[in-house]
């Protein structure tokens, strides 16, 4: 994201174009892989960015970190208000959302990994998404989840092990 200010619609559009895919992906995998829900929540994230633009402090954080933080709290808020929604439920998207460019084995593995993500606890899932799906640095993740870099590294490592265990269990 090049801009460090959100002063007008043009700045907002730019931020949306730069960040809507990773934010969507973060929300999509975090909230049970439901496309429509993820699109709605992602839109809300950017609405909040726009309506709260005056409170953004470029000297404290980057736009990217700020938008991620808004997305994170919006998802937490969503689960708080919808307590009886299973956040680890499987749904049809996971099975049918296949990538045409993959061969059959890769496609099966991809499905298993997607399914495995839904089996992880919220914290494990979050760091996996941020680190490996969205490619954030350890420092960026640590900043977002309010942990030290070393602790974040351990969290990511453990989460990956947990995911591996879940995916391995699908082979039997």
């Amino acid at each position: 994201v090049n801009t460090q200010r959100i002063e007008n619609k043009s700045d907002m559009e730019k931020i949306f174009i730069d960040l809507h895919v990773p934010i969507y992906r973060y929300i999509y995998y975090k909230t049970g892989q439901k496309r429509e829900l993820a699109e709605d929540l992602t839109e809300d994230v950017f609405v909040k960015v726009w309506t709260n633009r005056a409170s953004f402090r470029p000297e404290i954080s980057s736009i990217k970190s700020w938008v991620y933080a808004i997305a994170r709290y919006l998802v937490i808020d969503y689960y708080r208000k919808n307590k009886n929604i299973y956040d680890t439920s499987e749904n049809e998207d996971i099975i049918h959302d296949k990538n045409d460019n993959l061969n059959q084995d890769d496609g099966i593995l991809l499905d298993e990994v997607k399914k495995g993500l839904t089996r992880l606890n919220k914290k494990d899932r979050e760091v996996i998404i941020l680190r490996y799906i969205n490619g954030l640095s350890i420092e960026e993740i640590a900043d977002l989840i309010h942990k030290k870099s070393s602790a974040t590294k351990v969290m990511i490592h453990r989460a990956l092990k947990h995911l591996k265990k879940v995916v391995d269990s699908y082979d039997y």
Binding site: Q33, L37, F46, D106, L109, G135, L163, D171
Partner: protein, 286 residues
């Protein structure tokens, strides 16, 4: 078994994207100054709309208010209707327990001792009428139940009259109201005795000897117990209750004036000062 390296590689392939249509719509909203939250997040749960409608906890406060008021209204209308319908129920009817429940509720609500006694007397009236109806058409078991209801209600009337007698000694009752009530009890006693005789004859005609005998016992107890309460009242108050309702109405005012003249005049019929009759009258003049 998947290796961690392979797992990471696969994770990086999870490049799900939102639809272009959605992204374009959002961009248009930003450009057109139409960028605001269009739906509450709570409404985005994946439950069906029917479940959502029925799920109280998902409702917005305003929606909750409407639904609550609606439910209360429906409950009031239906419960009022059921309670009204149940008033005519007799033992063995589906609505009879509702009738009894409404009566129990009234017992709790009514606080004035004389009103409580009046209420029980009215119910005794009702119980005897129910028994009379059933004795003409129903079988022994149902009539037996109705018999027991009469007996239970007779006991309640007796208990209320005993309470009144105690309060009367403490001069805590409105003497005029108490006399009216006792006159009513006296009148009802005669009416109920006649009704019970009629019921007894109905039962004997049907060959229901058990219930007929039971009713005779209840009638005798009723006459005796209520008679005792009436006599007690008459001797303590000095008021002679009349044998018929007509005579009662004619003689009532005169008797009250004779027996409790000062009390009625001074405090408008409310002598609830906790002192004896004599001191109450003296205090009233002061």
């Amino acid at each position: 078994m998947i290796t961690e390296e392979n797992l990471i590689k696969t994770l990086k392939k999870l490049d799900t994207k939102p639809s272009n249509g959605w992204a374009n719509r959002v961009v248009q909203k930003i450009r057109n100054d139409n960028f605001h939250v269009t739906k509450d997040i709570e409404q985005r749960n994946t439950f069906s709309s029917l479940f959502y409608f029925l799920s109280y906890f998902y409702m917005s406060p305003r929606y909750k208010l409407f639904v609550t008021l609606g439910i209360v209204f429906v409950l009031l209308v239906t419960s009022g209707g059921v309670a009204y319908a149940s008033d005519d129920a007799v033992p063995g009817d589906l609505l009879y327990p509702v009738d009894k429940a409404v009566e129990s509720l009234n017992r709790v609500i009514i606080s004035d001792p004389i009103a409580k006694a009046e209420f029980e007397v009215e119910l005794l009236d009702e119980r005897v009428a129910e028994l009379e109806d059933l004795s003409e058409v129903s079988n022994g078991e149902v009539v037996g139940d109705a018999n027991e209801e009469v007996e239970a209600q007779k006991n309640r009337v007796r208990e209320r009259l005993e309470v009144l007698a105690e309060l009367s000694v403490q001069n805590k009752l409105n003497t005029q109201e108490q006399q009216q009530l006792m006159q009513e009890v006296q009148n009802k006693l005669q009416v109920h005795e006649e009704s019970m005789n009629q019921i007894k004859s109905n039962l004997e005609n049907k060959g229901d000897v058990d219930n007929s005998q039971k009713l005779t016992e209840i009638k005798n107890q009723y006459s005796e117990e209520i008679g005792v309460e009436i006599n007690k009242y008459e001797s303590e108050s000095g008021v002679q209750l009349n044998e018929s309702e007509m005579e009662n109405n004619q003689g009532e005012d005169t008797q009250i004036q004779n027996q409790n003249q000062n009390e009625v005049q001074n405090d408008g019929g409310n002598s609830d000062n906790g002192s004896s009759g004599g001191s109450s009258q003296s205090g009233g003049r002061n």
